[in-house]
């Protein structure tokens, strides 16, 4: 009897309108997501077009900055033994004070193993010579101008209680942070720090190397308290930008789901109004209220499921048809909207859940009808 009633309900004229109402609402969400997915895929592809940037840093995990990072010699030896690496520069960065004839100024002191090769690789321009022994230093061009230091002038560099007199043998211009630092050999930096520590290692790969594979291999070998960070973060930035748009869309789509719940309420209410005869008949033959509730509830959920599938199809196909029409008018515009499987599942489940919530009250009211 109940299955017969179910068939009668499904064959009502209002069933089609109900499915369409729900389908159109779901189509709004699926079309928005499919267009955003296309835009995101384009920006991701752009970010991965070629291996952008070839500099990496080995730092201690969770350090706030370069001067807070401390490494022992293990990562140094691992990197030196890695054949895929073109160059690796061991560095120590210290926070110190520069004392000149014009006054004192807080500075970063960067000690680099093989400073000459490092500056050549940067690349950078050196006015003068590169510091070759522990009593010499290079100054960044901006720092030299700010402190009015001349070539061959002696300056006083202090880190904590350690103080060194250094002769400035060259000014460095690299269009980077080196332009604001005191550059010394690693030996000099160790003397200032009174230890043999290393802050971080800056390295790059040889051409043609599979970088991801090598990085995966390195992460297994390196100690747990150390991490490898890529310097140029193009892909990460684009990924975050994409994620922001998707988050916005997820929050916006909540309003659509509320309307889905409202639509489901309307559909169930209309069914209750139009199925008075069927309800009375069911009551007369003794069908329990719980079963009547289940009948109306499941009817609405089935409609929601069919509407959601249709809506997904309308949304994606609709945007693809629109993009084809756009291509006729704007040559060169190629939009290929698509939905991710996870998004399909998410939209289906949320549509059904909100529809179910929306139809609970009308289904309950249908059980209250008296003979």
């Amino acid at each position: 009897m109940l299955s017969l009633t179910y068939k009668i309900l499904l064959r009502k004229k209002s069933t089609t309108a109900a499915i369409l109402a729900l389908a159109l609402l779901v189509a709004i969400i699926s079309s928005m997501y499919s267009i955003v997915n296309f835009i995101n895929s384009q920006t991701t592809a752009f970010g991965q077009l070629r291996n952008v940037g070839n500099q990496y840093l080995v730092l201690s995990k969770n350090c706030e900055g370069l001067s807070d990072s401390h490494l022992n010699r293990i990562p140094v030896n691992i990197l030196k033994n890695c054949t895929e690496i073109k160059s690796a520069y061991i560095q120590q960065v210290l926070e110190g004070t520069l004392q000149t004839t014009t006054g004192k100024r807080p500075v970063f002191v960067r000690g680099v193993e093989n400073l000459s090769a490092y500056l050549k690789a940067k690349p950078s321009y050196v006015n003068g010579t590169v510091a070759a022994n522990p009593s010499e230093a290079n100054l960044g061009v901006l720092l030299s101008k700010a402190c009015h230091v001349n070539l061959q002038e002696c300056v006083n560099v202090s880190v904590g209680s350690a103080v060194l007199d250094l002769k400035i043998v060259g000014f460095v211009r690299s269009q980077g942070q080196l332009d604001n630092e005191v550059l010394v050999s690693l030996e000099t930096a160790n003397m200032l720090a009174s230890d043999g520590d290393v802050s971080f290692i800056e390295f790059s790969f040889k051409d043609g190397v599979n970088r991801q594979e090598t990085l995966d291999g390195l992460s297994v070998l390196l100690p747990n308290d150390v991490e490898v960070v890529k310097v140029q973060q193009t892909a990460a930035f684009l990924q975050q930008a994409n994620g922001e748009i998707l988050n916005f869309l997820s929050v916006w789509s909540l309003t659509v789901y509320f309307v889905v719940a409202a639509a489901s309420y309307v559909v169930s209410t209309r069914l209750t109004v139009e199925s008075e005869y069927e309800l009375v008949t069911l009551k007369a033959i003794g069908v329990k209220r719980r079963r009547v509730f289940g009948l109306f509830f499941s009817y609405t959920v089935v409609l929601a499921l069919v509407g959601a599938f249709l809506g997904l199809a309308f949304g994606v196909v609709g945007t693809q048809v629109s993009s084809t029409v756009l291509k006729w008018f704007w040559q060169g515009v190629l939009v290929e909207p698509f939905l991710e499987p996870v998004q399909v599942g998410q939209i289906l489940i949320l549509s059904i859940v909100f529809s179910a919530v929306g139809c609970v009250y009308p289904a309950f009211k249908s059980t209250q009808r008296s003979l």
Partner: protein
């Protein structure tokens, strides 16, 4: 006027449900249009909202963040009568603590003449504070940073990294609250291969004395001459300590690549290039409304079905279908207004939450929403039209 207006046959409970359904649909339209228009407006206001702020920018660049303009033009612009200040700036996307941010390189003195910022904590940057950064309040809260904290900044457009110390936290009441400010040189590290270019130059003018066209003509003189690479003469508006470090160098540039426009127009142009116009966003919102219109139609027709007996009685006593439809319409129109108001109230609450309490950002900038009266009127017109069509097409037999 309807003869049946005195008959109140609608049950209150059913009317409440209809009003709620209309409010939800109206809310959907308003949330869609106002949130999209809010994002649009936030981008438009990115370079400044005042009419008196114009921008010298690179017309060839595809985004506002990737342009390149000779920095020395900031000096030349300042010599034009009617110009209060010019601020050469760089805009660079970066990653800090795993989060994307935008870093703006500025000359602090010039920048503060164009922008009113209030210091919340710490101190204002000096143009030689190369190891320091000022954070907008929203950004500082998002990254959980305070004055004295150190940050490692990883660039996006170039292969560079820097360590900074947070010098100050500021509030500006604009999208800059989501950005970090650094000295101009540092901004140039993040973008360019030299110290002679900037992303754009913002200029504050007296509109009654000078226009953007006049400034363009003034700059055109420098494109036509062929200056040798020599240090430019000191401009009275540029701080002398900046000039003593690495002065701006005069260089050739292609005039056709240079644009001078009101700052908001510059941003609007960039958005329009990608088809994002105010009209397109409103049309998109109307489409969303139309897709949800079947729900309203079904709800209106359900209301009619729920009162079938009352309508049958009225028909028996001589009311025509036309009179019934007119009467129902007149009774439902005020309810449409109530529903639109309720929808607007729901939308205000939702957008207030979006703006103040959610961490939603687009391109690392928070969202600012404002109510557009045109959208509210359009909302009422659409809802009323839809209810009218649904009632007129309902079956009163």
């Amino acid at each position: 006027m309807s003869k049946l207006l005195g008959f109140s046959y609608f049950r209150f409970r059913h009317l409440v449900v209809l009003v709620l359904i209309l409010a939800f649909v109206s809310g959907l339209f308003l949330v869609t249009s106002l949130s999209f228009l809010g994002v649009y407006r936030s981008f438009n206001a990115y370079l400044g909202e005042e009419e008196a702020v114009i921008a010298v920018y690179d017309k060839q660049s595809r985004t506002p963040f990737t342009g390149s303009v000779p920095a020395y033009l900031a000096d030349k612009v300042c010599s034009v009568r009617g110009v209060f200040a010019s601020s050469p700036e760089t805009l660079s996307p970066c990653i800090v603590g795993g989060q994307s941010i935008f870093v703006r390189g500025v000359l602090p003195d010039a920048f503060l003449k164009l922008n009113n910022i209030s210091l919340v904590e710490g101190k204002v940057l000096n143009q030689t504070d190369f190891g320091s950064v000022m954070l907008g309040k929203n950004l500082a809260d998002r990254l959980k940073l305070a004055v004295g904290d150190k940050v490692l900044v990883l660039a996006v457009l170039v292969d560079r990294y820097f360590e900074f110390e947070v010098e100050g936290v500021f509030v500006s009441g604009s999208s800059m609250d989501d950005e970090a400010l650094v000295p101009l040189y540092v901004g140039q590290w993040l973008r360019f291969a030299d110290y002679y270019h900037v992303t754009l130059i913002r200029v504050k003018i007296n509109p009654s004395l000078v226009s953007s066209e006049e400034i363009y003509l003034e700059l055109a003189k420098y494109a036509q001459t062929s200056p040798a690479s020599s240090a430019s003469s000191n401009s009275s508006s540029q701080p002398s300590s900046y000039q003593s470090l690495l002065p701006f160098v005069s260089m050739n540039f292609v005039l056709e690549n240079l644009g001078v426009k009101n700052a908001q127009s510059v941003m609007t142009n960039y958005l329009n290039r990608y088809g994002v116009t105010k009209e397109a966003l409103v049309v998109l919102s109307v489409l969303v409304f139309l897709f949800s219109s079947l729900t309203v139609t079904v709800a209106s027709q359900t209301l009619v079905r729920q009162h079938k007996e009352a309508f049958e009685t009225l028909r028996y006593v001589g009311a025509s279908k036309r009179e019934l439809k007119l009467d129902v319409l007149l009774k439902l129109l005020p309810l449409s207004l109530i529903a639109c108001s309720l929808g607007a109230a729901i939308t205000m609450a939702a957008l207030f939450w979006f703006e103040g309490y959610s961490s939603l950002t687009i391109l690392s900038h928070g969202l600012f929403f404002s109510f557009d009266p045109l959208v509210l009127v359009l909302n009422f017109v659409l809802v009323t039209a839809l209810v009218s069509v649904s009632v007129l097409r309902a079956d009163f037999d």
